[in-house]
């Protein structure tokens, strides 16, 4: 054991917590949980259902960035500290995140893309209630709102509470900003070609627009109308005809870069998002190319 600790020390890695240290940390957490439970029940109840206690403990762990099952040496700095003070500090940080998220949400709802759908509007409406319903003190890991609209690039399920909502909004803001660069007259025919009931069904609006725009950029065409006529699609089929999956991915990444430049997308995060979405098309293109063509990926908006 001493050898492991010494080796870890040499490598600049914190050795894991010893069993005694783990016990001490658990006791500190337990004591904080007892305090939080008393506050949560407003002193009206000496006991709570196990599920409630677990939710309260998850909130504490989320706020303090602790994984209860981990014995990471990073937690050593918590030992012997006033956990109440740390929790208060964590809540302050969450409050700041909450304000940042609300600002982002406000910007989003005041600058909606030219085309939306029911799921998107409902989700934004529901997130609008999140700011008032989020229990920052006791249940900070929870997400008290309904998020139905599917993003092109989903938010990792490991994120919780306001972290999840803010990441979702960041992705949505990227998608919305992208869609705002096109006119409604270009978007509607494309979306109709993609899904006739794009308004009513749970579909993502960014994906088909990004796919067509990347396809056009690859051919040096203007992405403005988002339309890939059959002859243009034929050129794309030729382009990908003899490429491996990896080469397709690289071609698409290059197309995403060209498109971002054409649309003057500056944000590194938005550029990365577009590149990721473009690369996600690679396996579909490889399969579709060998089975009847790319008409299901690069859509003809005008019949």
């Amino acid at each position: 054991m001493d050898e492991i600790i010494a080796r870890a020390g040499q490598q600049g890695i914190e050795p894991p917590l010893s069993p005694e240290e783990q016990l001490l940390l658990q006791q500190q957490l337990l004591s904080l949980l007892a305090r939080q439970t008393a506050h949560y029940t407003a002193g009206d109840s000496s006991s709570v259902p196990v599920e409630t206690a677990e939710r309260l403990l998850r909130s504490i762990c989320f706020t303090l960035h602790i994984h209860p099952e981990s014995d990471s040496g990073e937690y050593r700095t918590l030992l012997g500290q006033d956990m109440g003070v740390l929790l208060a500090r964590g809540i302050e940080q969450l409050q700041q995140k909450l304000e940042d998220g609300q600002a982002l949400w406000t910007a989003l709802v005041t600058h909606l893309p030219p085309v939306t759908n029911i799921a998107l509007r409902d989700t934004l409406g529901s997130i609008g209630t999140f700011w008032g319903r989020y229990d920052i003190r006791f249940l900070a890991q929870e997400i008290p709102c309904d998020i139905d609209y599917q993003l092109a690039r989903p938010v990792p399920e490991t994120l919780q509470g306001v972290d999840y909502v803010n990441r979702y909004l960041q992705h949505l803001a990227i998608e919305s900003d992208f869609l705002c660069r096109f006119r409604k007259e270009a978007l509607v025919p494309l979306l109709r070609a993609y899904c006739p009931d794009y308004n009513g069904l749970l579909i993502n609006l960014y994906e088909p627009a990004a796919a067509n725009a990347v396809g056009l950029a690859l051919l040096g065409e203007s992405p403005e109308m988002l339309d890939i006529a059959p002859e243009v699609r034929g050129e794309l089929e030729e382009l990908f005809a003899h490429q491996t999956k990896q080469e397709i991915r690289e071609t698409l990444a290059a197309g995403a870069r060209q498109l971002a430049d054409m649309l003057a997308i500056q944000s590194p995060m938005a550029r990365e998002y577009l590149r990721g979405c473009a690369e996600d098309l690679a396996p579909r293109i490889a399969t579709a190319r060998d089975h009847g063509g790319l008409s299901g990926i690069f859509l003809s908006a005008r019949k």
């Binding site: 658990q26 957490l29 337990l30 949980l33 007892a34 439970t37 008393a38 009206d44 109840s45 000496s46 006991s47 709570v48 259902p49 196990v50 599920e51 409630t52 206690a53 677990e54 403990l57 998850r58 209860p68 099952e69």
Partner: protein, 161 residues
Amino acid sequence: MNEMQLFSQPMQIIQTKMELTQCNQMTERYGLTLSDQQMEQIALRRIDALQATGRVEFGESILRKLVYAFCDSPYIRQAEYANMLAELLDLFYYFKGECMEQLTDDELIEGMRLVFDEAASGSLSFLANLDREIMEEVAQTGSLEGTPLEDGEIDWGDIDG
């Protein structure tokens, strides 16, 4: 993830026994005391009752409040004191969960005492078989009025049988 494994059972037993020792000092005047062995049994019973009802309790247990509320009941005598306290403890956690966390500890204990003394004449089986909704109503209003217990409408035969 079972975070609730954080609890140390031996520590809980020690803490509960300390609480009950303090209660003894107060209940002596009513002729009620618990032996060390009885305290240990009740402490273990508390852990079992919490597990059985899927609950956890932090800090001071509910026992002190139960003891204080019931120690002057005319239906509790030294000979049955330990058993009755253990049963009251079981019933408390049972009703707490059954009433969907809608009752505060004080409301529930007051309701239990009211039913125990006024309607059940000290019968714990009566209390145990009481409908959840009636208990909730008694606890919330602090009265038997307007419930089937008011005029003895509940059939003792059903309960004792």
